[in-house]
């Protein structure tokens, strides 16, 4: 018996892109992370990371706030509720996708 086809079009491409997936994974595991931490974790250049964060921000998945911790200037990134839900759905979708195509 053949398994039902997997609707690949349903995948959230905003999160599916590898660099943005790493960003979303980090931000989902914590309350917030700053630009420098994300840059080290993803290995992206400043420009690339900015571009990916802007895409996530435009999609309503991430908020970006410039602030200080003591005298240290920080660019704090946080996953929104919508972003967390999208990440949860993405993981679920991925697991189901692999199960169906096995």
């Amino acid at each position: 018996m053949t398994a039902a086809p997997v609707p690949i079009g349903e995948i959230d491409r905003l999160i599916h892109e590898p660099a943005r997936l790493v960003i979303a994974t980090v931000l989902n595991a914590v309350d917030s992370a700053d630009f420098l931490y994300l840059q080290r974790e993803t290995g992206l250049t400043k420009g690339n990371l900015s571009a990916h964060l802007t895409k996530l921000q435009d999609g309503g998945y991430v908020t970006i706030e410039k602030t200080y911790k003591g005298r240290v200037p920080l660019t704090i990134c946080r996953l929104t509720d919508r972003g967390r839900e999208a990440f949860r759905r993405y993981r679920q979708y991925w697991q189901e996708f692999v199960k169906k195509t096995r």
Binding site: A29, A33, D34, F35, L36, Y37, Q39, R40, E41, K69
Partner: protein, 221 residues
């Protein structure tokens, strides 16, 4: 790559990243330094308490002073950790804020902790009465509780030095109980030893962290 590998790779990568975020808070050794300072403060308190003569004013002050000293020590250690992280960690490898559990979960956890503490105290009392009374078993018991906590932390973070600290802490507690020193001084020695061990481990961790992570160039944040 097979489907199973693909699934494992994705799940593994996500889990690896999540684990690294948990581990990040401990990598620089600063939390161990703060814990060391806190333990040394408690050790000094128990030393003073153990040396104060029975029924003296000093002993009375020590008896009523435990909670304020505990809270002040905790506050000082927390401030120290925050300050060191702000000056050393955040400019080098970035800032992470961990999730705080929701209020309902925090209340549930506090209740669970209270109940567990009560059960542990009851268990300890039952255990102490059945063990040879010539020894003070409080340091051994405290050491084992600390040891278990550190083992759990080591499994979560994958840091070997935390696992070593767990073994040494438990061993110090049992050793001090069997040493048969005057009551009170054993606890002073236990907290002093734990504090010094945590300070050494934290300072070594911090040194390694600083060597691995020089300050990035200006304007990279």
């Amino acid at each position: 790559m097979t489907d199973q590998n693909l699934e494992n790779a994705n799940a593994h990568d996500i889990k690896r990243i999540e684990r690294r975020t948990v581990r990040y808070g401990f990598e620089d050794g600063i939390l161990e330094i703060a814990l060391g300072v806190f333990a040394v403060i408690l050790g000094l308190f128990f030393l003073g308490s153990g040396l104060a003569p029975e029924k003296s004013t000093a002993r009375f002050i020590f008896d009523v002073g435990f909670l304020p000293v505990f809270l002040a020590g905790y506050w000082a250690a927390r401030k120290l950790a925050q300050s060191l992280k702000q000056h050393l960690t955040y400019p080098r490898t970035g800032y992470l804020a961990y999730k705080r559990p929701e209020k309902a979960k925090r209340i549930k956890r506090a209740l669970l902790a209270g109940i567990s503490a009560g059960l542990i105290a009851a268990l300890a009392t039952a255990l102490f009465t059945s063990l040879p009374s010539r020894f003070d078993w409080v340091p051994a018991f405290t050491g084992l509780i600390f040891g278990v906590t550190l083992v759990v932390r080591s499994l979560r973070t994958g840091l070997v030095r935390v696992a070593i600290a767990a073994v040494l802490t438990a061993a110090a507690g049992v050793g001090l109980s069997l040493a048969g020193w005057a009551p009170g001084l054993e606890l002073a020695a236990f907290y002093g030893a734990v504090g010094v061990m945590a300070l050494i481990s934290g300072l070594l961790g911090l040194r390694a962290y600083l060597r691995r992570n020089p300050l990035p160039e200006e304007g990279s944040r």
